[in-house]
Amino acid sequence: MGEENKRSQITPDLDAYAAHLKSESCRPVIEQGREYGQGPLLRMKLADTIMKLCQANSLWPMTFGIACCAIEMMGTGMARFDISRYGSEVFRPSPRQSDLMIVAGTVNKKLAPVLLTLYEQMPSPKWVIALGNCAISGGPFKVKENYNIIEGADKLIPVDVYVPGCPPRPEGLIEGILKVQEKITGIRHPIPQNRHPKSPLKKVKGLRVK
């Protein structure tokens, strides 16, 4: 009777679980994630530059909002911060139609296979932004008694840009997208857009609003 009450169960080894998931899935897809599959037959620098410019200027994110950071992601897509000025015109629900995965939230043991399935379904070239502290390293849930949280999305999939914050501001996510664009093309924002619109609350004296 007493033995049943004793915590004889060992807390699940989450790093081993993450590594096991990674090994089971198709390795070539994850390793060559950002290459063009086999590679083009003929490689011309001008064509490459134009392709990269087009890709960088129209990154379509996938709607994979998991937790709190999802609200900030939605807020970035809305009228005030407007992510579509930077090319992300639509958030596609289907992974087959998107090329940017924004992991916004905590990755769970139960959610890890889902994340991998979605990542594999995305056609390459694809990029990943880890939004928020939970996706970077487990965030506020990286504790001694952790039995469920995978500490960071990069234990499962290769991540390009990390945006810290809990949750990060929408400006932070926009900066993350600009960094991905810089990673693709080498230039920060290939075709510059207009500046941030002013908030009507600026009329209230003393309230500091961007």
């Binding site: 009777m1 049943e4 169960q9």
Partner: protein, 181 residues
Amino acid sequence: MAKKPKDYKEDFLHQGFDANRTDYNRRGYHLEVALNVNQVRKFAQTAYDLGFYIVFIAGLHVRPDEEQDKRNSGLEVVYQFSRYDQLYRIKGCVSVPNTHKIPSISDIYQGADWHERETRDFYGVVFDGHPNMKPLLLAEEDPDFHPLLKEEEKLKSLDEVSWPSEIPEAAKKEAEPETGR
């Protein structure tokens, strides 16, 4: 309020339960009912007939009582019910026997379905008569992993985590339930 507030202690005492009034301002509920394993379903049926809604079912892990070691697993299940039309919260508390099974109330209160599955996930208490005792919040691969069970050194006995015996003033208050802070 249009209706005069009613005290439900008599209704529960009439059915044979061990019901005690508590001080709402210190505890947050009005009636505390100590239940036997066999009384759980009757308690739920009484509450349903009187018009209470189910608030939650929670588990609690304490050190098993040394005298009753053979009959006591150290797990407690707490039920809480409340009303829509009047402020009255009742708490029912039952000790789980060492078979880790207690009767389910999910046919009387369908909302208890998920609460009982969650208690099984976290504590390992199996509810007899529940249609679908599968993991709810935890992964299906580890049905035997019960995270909220405490380690041996952190366990405390039920007396150490209960209120000391009631202050005489609270026991003297009759009839009118308190309406808040």
